[in-house]
């Protein structure tokens, strides 16, 4: 399968308000799509639809080899989401949370310990999430997102709340391995950084795609224009 994501006229409306309108693109497997746009532009909505959490109201969505929402069951286990919500229970420890997700995804529990060490939470893994700093929560959430080694990773501002060292530590986790590069969709408010890691850039404004091009040809100014 060479195309990881295929969108045609994707739209999502809430009543009369269109959160997304007419998004079409084709993303090859293994590449990174970075989505830019001001708040309310529809970035999170797009991510949620790709994650199979939201149904589109118009258009078609193909993720990996499944057409959503009909074939969502096929692709669900191969997608990872790291959004604003860490999706962790505050009264349980990181280890307990991750073990729970591991069981849901039929993942070997040993991987939980591996990942916790990889994100640097090994020492505090058995403390409740409520005692963690924001950065630690983000790291635990990242571990949760990649626990099942997803082919497609959806990241909503993944470096928020992280200091540069922690962000660097997270990088290898989020990019995948050379043998099996992950397809990634990342939302970003950082024009320079975002463009640097992107293969394809998508700019949204009020739900509409105003910019869609290979990242090499996009300038930082063009991204900046989205915010004006």
């Amino acid at each position: 399968m060479t195309t990881a994501i295929e969108l045609a006229g994707l739209g999502r409306a809430y009543g009369e308000r269109a959160a997304l309108d007419g998004v079409s693109l084709s993303l090859p497997a293994g590449s990174t799509l970075v989505v830019f746009g001001p708040n309310g532009a529809g970035k999170s909505t797009l991510l949620r639809i790709l994650a199979t959490l939201l149904r589109p109201t118009t258009g078609t969505v193909r993720v990996l080899d499944g057409e959503l929402p009909r074939e969502a069951w096929k692709v669900r286990g191969r997608i990872g989401l790291l959004g604003h919500d860490p999706l962790l229970y505050r009264e349980l420890s990181a280890r307990e949370n991750l073990r729970y997700h591991a069981r849901l995804h039929a993942v070997d529990p040993a991987r939980v310990d591996e990942l916790l060490d990889a994100v640097g939470l090994g020492a505090r893994a058995d403390d409740p999430i409520s005692t963690y700093s924001r950065g630690m929560v983000q790291r635990a959430a990242a571990a949760r997102a990649v626990l099942h080694d997803p082919e497609l990773l959806l990241l909503d501002e993944p470096r928020a709340n992280l200091d540069p060292a922690a962000a660097a530590a997270l990088e290898p986790l989020l990019t995948g391995t050379p043998e099996r590069p992950r397809t990634r969709v990342v939302t970003s408010h950082d024009p320079a950084g975002g463009l640097a890691e992107a293969d394809v850039a998508l700019g949204l404004r009020a739900g509409r795609p105003v910019l869609l091009a290979p990242a090499a040809g996009v300038t930082v100014d063009q991204i900046g224009a989205l915010y004006r």
Binding site: Y14, G15, E16, T57
Partner: protein, 237 residues
Amino acid sequence: MHGKGLRGLSVATIVVLVGAFAVAAFYAPLDADQGFRQKIFYLHVPLAIVALVGFIVGGLLAIQHLRTREPIWDLRSYVAIHISLILGVGVLVTGAIWAKSSWGVWWLWDEPTLVSFLIVFLLYGTYTPMRFAIEDRERQARYASVFAITAGAFVPICFGAVRAQPQEVHPQTFGSGDLPGPMWLTFLVCLAGMALLFYTLYRFEIAAKLARGRLRSLRRQLLDDAPVQRRSAAPTI
């Protein structure tokens, strides 16, 4: 475009209903021990039957909504339940009137049909508040459908459970099936009238909602002017 055939339907309803009341008032024989006031039975029971069937139909329409996810089915389900609720008020009121005139009390716990109906009514009474409490239209419709299906299945179970309770003093007037000929006939005519009433009201409300929806969408397209939609419990197309 919307509301085709409504005039004919309304006329038919009025004719049958008026005819039914006339038949009930003049043709049907007087009940031996209850006299004239027994005749409210011809109003109360058909109303109840139609309302209950309406609730169950609302559930069936909701199943269709969940299967196809088309908003029109949600509209149909909502209207069916809505109208049944209104008729339901009539059922409870006529039931109370009958109870008062026959037994001297405004309510009878011993009349299982009345009691079951009250429980069902209380359940469906939460339908509109529940819809209103969910802002997102699509989710509102989906949740309402789940509710309608569950409640629709509940209706027969509720009636069964309440009826199973041992009756004490009062006979199940509405339960007994052996009515003499003329009473049966009167009853059927009244039932037909009520069913027509339900159907006519149903068609009217659907037509009104569809027309209003169309108007909104035309205004939005042509005048760029649709008023901001307030939260509402009713589905909009």
